[in-house]
Symmetry: C2
Subunit: 200 residues, 2 copies
Amino acid sequence: MADPIRFHFDLSSPYAYIASREIDALAAKHGREVVWRPMLLGAAFKAMGATPIAEVPLKGAYSIREFARSARFHGAPYRHPSPFPVSTVSAARAFLWLDGRDPAAAKRLAAALFEAYFVEGLNISSADVVVAVAARQGLDAAQMTAAMSDPAIKEALKTEVDAAIAAGVFGAPFFFVDGEPFWGADRLDQIDRWLARGGF
Amino acid sequence: MADPIRFHFDLSSPYAYIASREIDALAAKHGREVVWRPMLLGAAFKAMGATPIAEVPLKGAYSIREFARSARFHGAPYRHPSPFPVSTVSAARAFLWLDGRDPAAAKRLAAALFEAYFVEGLNISSADVVVAVAARQGLDAAQMTAAMSDPAIKEALKTEVDAAIAAGVFGAPFFFVDGEPFWGADRLDQIDRWLARGGF
């Protein structure tokens, strides 16, 4: 089987949320699997000297409107959350811990966290909220709480994020398809063609 | 007839070039016309405190690759120009002058300048190059040269660019469809649906 597609996401990114609902089905259409990898936009922005999009003059106001419109375009339920953006360090640690045990369950947790933030408006920067969302999935609260403060998990996330940035990941969603980088939910159509033709 | 679509472009923007080849046909499909308006990315970036994309760490290297890939995706011939980006002040003045006399001819000139830069690799920041490209269109070199240094045209471009930024234009291509703002060649699909349904 061909290599899996790499999908780098930050749980606070509206476009990563939109893409997360489609990428596995898109890949499956071409006989591919998807590996989900947590990244932290804050770390990438620091490496780029960039400002969070919602805070950029002119672009910020447009973006708030655009997030909701793109969500409608993709058929994704969306309520712009407040506060926005939020730190997803705890959530990313929870994902990474679970991913080491059960990658499919980790994807379900990430999907639930995206919905918690972008549909329910829960503040997923809180470790307690992450645990509560995980508990709905039948995951053990005590285990997850312990995992999020485990130095090994903290270190693993740092390594993961540093490696992603070193590989050129500067935004979310960010994909690699057989080494080819794609940034943005608006590149899903290019990924579709790339997979169909083996490049273009 | 419904209001025309506004298409704001900088002749040094690869994505504006890509969109320029499609927007009139897309609009015509929905019985709409397109008004082409020159903007200057440098002025918008200054208003945003932004850095030209190709100079941003991580994003810059990706973007150079992405320009060419998106051009292929859209079937647009493309050779990444050097230098990039370039000032398009002279070219925008030439466009604006001609637009006041013959908007259709001004669109043809803009299309020829996009091709001169992104296909032929000519440095369109030079007023002489602008005049040479215009001459191929049968436009009068002496008239155009005079127009580019006409204080009234200089002032008109400044007014045009300031008004665009005041209206929220921060990048190129930038479109308004019945007041709804769309940024990027990758929003042509949303514009298509917006025109078909009167919003979504």
